[in-house]
């Protein structure tokens, strides 16, 4: 019986930034045609994996990993990758073995302090509980939905002004995701474009394993800009507390420096994922008009579209952990102290867990997925995202533009693999 599993809380949206650039900048090794097995029960070495191919289309690589070696040492990424649903779930259910306390130094430097994600046990869970208060379904409904709806209308107007051919990512998805986060945090007088830029800078900083000075400078500048916005927010919210995350944090007695680090963490993690689900939903519904009509008949069905999109095109493909002790996953031994990549995007297409996993089919009830992570690390923004994107933004897009579809003349572009989504998606209607 696992009586002492430390309660570690955290969000897969936010604690894995350190993995991004490290993984994406890792040298790509020469491809070799087969996996080398280094002994029974030992991990195979998947030295055929190529980061350029992952960026192009990661899914064939994930499929081969699941088939050949669901647990493998991958030199190109310098991690043990776990590709199966069962393996990823096991890791998520055993946070005492698969610790999230990895590569903290870069994140700490990038964020200017120690965010809650880098703490363990009771302290950590106490901090996470503070923000959970405003992120449960009731508060989302009572407080935040009206904001999400108003913000959605603002950017629907912007899209309409852009006219057919506008880039859904630039004009709608990115600024809407940033504005919703600005409201949730309790910032004011801050432009969504600035928040989106800060988010990108902090992510780059958290993953700045090559110590690129330019990245540190960008981080520094963004931290200063955010710092001024926070000075204003602290003064305002100390006098007039509200339901925003910053208000809850400062009134919980958390030192200002920690609040700053935690807000930085939230900004680095909370923008691109909802943004990517919005664009991916439109792309998938364009490819599957039958499911668009199905959802339009009964708009609550867009919630299922949201879940299925998150499963099939998981915006966070990999989260990182470090083993605290020797362990065994899917019959393979993993030594303690190993850097681990849990391939959530692969787990979410594992045929052993999901029927016809490569097909987009939102009509299936309850296709369980790990898109939000699972266990102590389950995303804190889960309910907010389901409301803001699944219940509000995507159905509103089709209500305003019933014939909305991706522009056949200008296909969108994808970016990234650890964090994957459209970097542009022109649409017409």
């Amino acid at each position: 019986m696992d009586a002492t599993a430390a309660v570690r809380t955290g969000c897969p949206f936010t604690d894995k930034r350190s993995a991004v650039e490290r993984a994406e900048n890792a040298p790509t090794e020469m491809c070799s045609p087969v996996s080398e097995t280094i002994g029974a029960g030992e991990m195979p070495v998947a030295n055929w994996i190529n980061v350029a191919e992952l960026r192009e289309d990661p899914y064939p690589t994930y499929a081969r990993l699941r088939n050949e070696s669901p647990v493998a040492w991958v030199p190109a990424i310098k991690k043990v990758l776990i590709a199966s649903f069962a393996g990823c779930l096991f890791a998520e259910q055993h946070p005492e073995i698969f610790s999230n306390n990895v590569s903290g130094a870069h994140m700490t430097r990038a964020f200017g302090g120690q965010p809650m994600i880098r703490q363990d046990g009771a302290d950590h869970s106490a901090e996470r509980n503070v923000i959970n208060q405003t992120l449960r379904p009731k508060k989302i409904k009572e407080v935040w939905e009206a904001r999400f709806i108003a913000n959605t209308q603002t950017y629907l107007d912007a899209l309409e002004d852009g006219g057919p051919g506008a880039d859904l990512n630039d004009v709608f998805a990115a600024p809407l995701a940033a504005k919703n986060l600005i409201d949730l945090l309790g910032l004011s007088c801050v432009a969504p474009a600035d928040v989106a830029r800060w988010s990108a800078d902090f992510m780059a900083g958290a993953g700045n394993v090559l110590d690129d000075q330019d990245i540190w400078l960008r981080c520094q500048r963004s931290r200063e800009e955010l710092g001024s916005a926070l000075d204003e927010a602290f003064a305002r919210l100390r006098k007039n507390p509200d339901d925003s995350i910053i208000s809850l944090l400062i009134h919980s007695g958390m030192p200002e420096e920690s609040v700053r680090a935690n807000v930085t963490l939230t900004i680095s993690g909370g923008v691109s994922e909802p943004q990517h689900i919005m664009t991916s939903s439109v792309s998938l519904l364009t490819q599957h008009p039958e499911f668009l009509s199905w959802a339009q008949e009964e708009p609550t069905r867009f919630e299922q579209v949201f879940q299925e999109t998150l499963r099939l095109q998981s915006p966070i493909a990999m989260i990182t952990r470090e083993t605290t002790t020797d362990t065994e996953v899917d019959g393979f031994r993993i030594p303690g102290g190993s850097q681990i990549g849990l391939l959530l995007a692969s787990a979410n297409r594992d045929v052993l867990a999901i029927e016809n996993p490569d097909e987009f089919d939102p009509t299936h009830e309850a296709r369980r997925h790990l898109g939000f992570g699972s266990g102590d690390h389950l995303c804190a923004g889960k309910w907010a995202a389901e409301a803001a994107v699944g219940r509000i933004a995507v159905p509103a897009l089709y209500e305003r533009f019933p014939t909305l579809r991706t522009d056949p003349a200008h296909p969108g572009t994808w970016n990234g693999w650890v964090f994957r989504g459209f970097s542009s998606l022109p649409v017409v209607w």
């Binding site: 696992d2 809380t9 449960r136």
Partner: protein, 106 residues
């Protein structure tokens, strides 16, 4: 060790002996009891650890917490009088023995 019995909607039953201090959810998930998910790891954030406590075991339990109450409204199977979140019920602390029915869906 504290005894916990889980009645599955399919008609089968599992019984576990749980260490004091461990939640009903954690015990079930780590021992592969189906029909309980525990997606949020016990933060009262997901309602996928919904259990229906048999009447004779209800009185010993602490009153519903505010978060627990709110989350039960979001459970996939409609709540009933015996509905609790398994993650909020700790062996020894909250029950000395327990029997629960697991809902159709989490």
């Amino acid at each position: 060790m504290i005894s916990a019995t889980f009645n599955h909607p399919e008609g089968t039953t599992d019984t576990l002996q749980i260490d004091p201090g461990v939640s009903l959810m954690k015990a079930a998930v780590l021992n592969g009891i189906g029909n309980i998910i525990g997606e949020c790891g016990g933060q009262a954030m997901c309602a996928t650890c919904h259990v229906l406590v048999q009447p004779e075991y209800r009185d010993q339990l602490p009153p519903l917490g505010e978060d627990e109450d709110e989350m039960l409204d979001c459970a996939a199977t409609e709540r009933t009088e015996g509905s609790r979140l398994g993650c909020q019920l700790k062996a020894g602390e909250h029950f000395s023995a327990i029997e629960v029915d697991l809902p159709e869906a989490q």
